[in-house]
């Protein structure tokens, strides 16, 4: 059932929380996920830098509160499906 509940989320981050220890945004996002015991190799889809500060990841529902509580996280939204016009 955990697999069935898995969903992609777009996570918006506050770059003020990125320290010099992270040379790139991607490095920072990966470290952030690892700090929450989320394996970026399995969960991280995209690391964004130019369009937004944030990333897209496939997450389990129980991982969301953990993520949302972190002060570096601004918003977490489900990945919407948009139609062509």
């Amino acid at each position: 059932s955990m697999v069935a509940c898995k969903q992609t989320y777009i996570v918006y981050m506050n770059a003020a929380h990125r320290t010099e220890a992270h040379p790139t945004h991607a490095h920072w996002y990966e470290a952030h996920l690892r700090s929450l015991s989320i394996d970026p190799a399995r969960h991280l889809l995209y690391s964004y830098s130019a369009a937004v500060h944030g990333f897209a990841a496939v997450l389990h529902p129980e991982q969301l509160p953990l993520l949302r509580r972190h002060p570096a996280v601004l918003n977490v939204h489900p990945d919407p499906l948009l139609p062509l016009h």
Binding site: T8, Y12, N14, Y48, A50, V52, H53, A56, P80, H85
Partner: protein, 662 residues
């Protein structure tokens, strides 16, 4: 695009020697401009992406041609300067068992749908002589900016476009260095912070990239708009002055005008029995819509089938009739579609008819003991009047996300547009359609959006220092609202005059947009003040703007105070009988320009503009004016009205629509 350059007043191709100095000469313009198209990919072998005659790719370009399935990187050239695909969001949603290979899709920028090839070639396709679909709409097909470069970002897959893939595409397009972004997709009316198109577009505009998005195809329902963020140019759709007429002649001698893209070979000049609702399920209406598996072959074989529009795809109805043994189809609009006819390349001879004709033909079939019909086809006609007509399907205001912002911004050609097509799918897009055509005719705000993107590329080339909002202002304030008969633009949904909730500022006029005289410019700080006025949380504003510390020290007194080229006035029910907006105009014309204001408004609203005259001594000078809208009547929440504010000089008219709600 064999007609729209002419319809838009763009220079012919190739340009005549005498017009070489023309300011919107596509041969000279826009070769330094890159249009990024986020869509279903590209069919790079299309002649629309031939790079003959184009100079080297601008050295500043950082994009790449990513190799993938059936897509070697050598397929890019000086026209198609970039191609990437983003499918991780799609694959994750699809279950991701085999995470590296999307099912039923090319894991590459190759377009197996056709939509992306169509939109990319509409924006900046190279000229292709003798283009047509089965002989229809023949001519030289070309993008609106045939000199511009195209970079394709495939973010849409079999079931649509995931936000995570769209954001990845925008992310890369910004890094690559595109100048214009064209997105013919979107959905819903979520707050901007939840809309990846709005969020990604904010960063793009912040970097000076012009972003055009389609308004949606959910018209004529009110409040059906998508992509309404003020930093986006929201594009609705109108018709060209081109038609594909056909006729239905009934056995009683009555004739009804319709539309068809079919040759009608083997059917023309024959009276054929016609049937309606001859289904296999007693009591079901499904056969009236020609749903799959619902027609009774015994009653349909060798006959013309009358089908109601709705529920399933139009082209699927044709396939259903053909598979049941029908020899032709009459496809009738529902009341909601009105008399607007959309061309499809059906698998069998078909005539599409409007709702009124459809009702009469349906009655004939139901009441006649031995009903017959003859279908005839007249090919392509040009110079149709009236045109443009606002497409019935084009999404409408009012704007529910920010009621104080008038959307859509403008309309462009989006009905029955011929442009390049994928080589892996037939013109209907159906799996059973084994026909192949280098071009296809499609309708939608998807088609109008790249028209505007291409025109924006021409403006960007002519005015490299203009901001995205300046380009948008130029497009909007010079748009026209009368059709080619001199009458106000008509709404295809009912035949009555259309309103700014359907067409925004009007229909694009590229030549006038080149020289607007004045512009309403908006900077990033203004957009942030706008977001603060929406009472969004700090977290949401920071997420949209990428700010690390947004305190909303500056906020607009009302979101409608954004320096936008149009106005949306919302009066309160009791207390708020007047609304005040400020605007700043920047002179992009000549020194010494004098503008006087004219106001056109509905009864029941008093409009006061101060000052009424603006004298611009210098180019680049900014002058402010205030406008007060006072409701002199008690309004009802369903009340709406429209008016205009126009600043006129000897050379220019800078026109803004105003919508009113109570």
């Amino acid at each position: 695009t064999t007609r729209s350059p002419h319809f838009l007043g763009l220079s012919p191709w190739p340009p005549a020697p005498s017009s070489r100095s023309h300011s919107l000469d596509p041969a000279a313009a826009a070769t330094d401009v890159v249009i990024g198209v986020l869509d279903t990919g590209v069919w790079p072998e299309s002649p629309s992406f031939d790079d003959a005659g184009l100079p080297e790719v601008p050295s500043r370009w950082r994009g790449a041609c990513e190799a993938g399935v059936d897509f070697p990187s050598s397929l890019c050239n000086r026209k198609l300067v970039g191609a990437r695909s983003f499918g991780r969001g799609y694959r994750a949603a699809a279950g991701g068992g085999d995470a590296d290979k999307p099912r039923e899709e090319y894991a590459s920028p190759r377009d197996r749908d056709g939509h992306g090839t169509h939109t990319a070639s509409t924006a900046a396709g190279a000229p292709v002589a003798n283009a047509s679909l089965l002989g229809y709409a023949s001519g030289v097909a070309r993008g609106m900016a045939p000199g511009a470069r195209v970079a394709v970002y495939k973010v849409c897959w079999a079931n649509g476009c995931y936000g995570s893939d769209i954001l990845a595409g925008i992310d890369k397009a910004i890094e690559d260095g595109v100048d214009v972004l064209s997105l013919s997709l979107g959905g819903g009316s979520a707050p901007f912070s939840r809309d990846p198109v709005a969020v990604g577009a904010f960063s793009a505009v912040q970097r000076g990239i012009f972003v055009a998005c389609s308004a949606g195809n959910s018209g004529p329902s009110p409040s059906s708009l998508t992509n309404t963020a003020p930093w986006i140019t929201t594009v609705g759709a109108g018709t060209l002055d081109r038609d594909f007429p056909a006729t239905v002649q009934l056995g009683n001698g009555e004739r009804y005008a319709g539309l068809s893209l079919c040759s009608g070979a083997g059917l023309e000049d024959q009276m054929v029995p016609i049937v309606y609702g001859k289904g296999v399920q007693v009591g079901s209406n499904s056969s009236k819509f020609c749903m799959p598996g619902t027609l009774d072959p015994e009653q349909v074989k060798g006959k013309v089938v009358f089908c109601d529009r709705g529920i399933n795809a139009r082209v699927e109805k044709g396939q259903v009739v053909k598979e049941a043994g029908g020899v032709g189809m009459i496809l009738a609009n529902a009341a909601v579609n009105g008399e607007e006819l959309v061309a499809d390349s059906h698998l069998l001879p078909t005539v599409a008819v409007g709702a009124k004709s459809g009702n009469l033909i349906r009655d004939f079939v139901r009441t006649s003991s031995n009903p017959t019909a003859m279908l005839s086809f007249r090919g392509t006609v040009l110079g149709v009047q009236p045109s443009p007509v606002v497409a019935a399907f084009s999404s409408r205001g009012p704007n529910t996300v920010v009621p104080q912002l008038l959307k859509p911004d403008l309309i462009g050609p989006g009905v029955n547009i011929l442009a390049a097509w994928s080589g892996s799918v037939g013109p209907t897009g159906l799996a059973k359609d084994e026909r192949r055509s280098a071009f296809n005719i499609m309708s939608g705000t998807s088609m109008s959006c790249p028209h505007i993107s291409g025109v924006a590329a021409l403006l960007k080339a002519a005015h490299p220092d203009w901001s995205p909002s300046a380009i948008k202002s130029a497009l909007m304030t010079t748009a026209y609202t009368d059709d080619n008969t001199g009458s106000p633009l008509v709404d295809g949904a009912g035949g009555s005059p259309a309103t700014p909730w359907a067409y925004g500022s009007g229909h694009v006029d590229p030549q006038k947009a080149l020289s607007p005289g004045l512009i309403y410019d908006i900077g990033t700080g203004d957009y942030l003040a706008f977001l603060c006025s929406l009472e969004y949380s700090t977290d949401h504003i920071q997420a949209i703007s990428k700010s690390t510390n947004k305190t909303c020290s500056r906020r607009l007194p009302n979101p409608g105070n954004l320096n936008y080229p149009s106005f949306s006035v919302v009066f309160g029910r009791r207390s708020r009988r007047f609304v005040k907006y400020n605007r700043v105009l920047t002179n992009v014309g000549v020194p010494g320009s004098v503008y006087n204001v004219k106001v056109g408004g509905p009864p029941g609203v008093k409009v006061t503009v101060k000052p009424t005259k603006l004298i611009f001594n210098q180019v680049g000078q900014k002058l402010r004016y205030k406008v007060t809208f006072t409701s002199t009547k008690a309004g009802d929440p369903v009340d709406m009205a429209f008016g205009w504010i126009t600043w006129s000089s000897e050379q220019h008219q800078v026109r803004s629509p105003v919508s009113y709600r109570w």
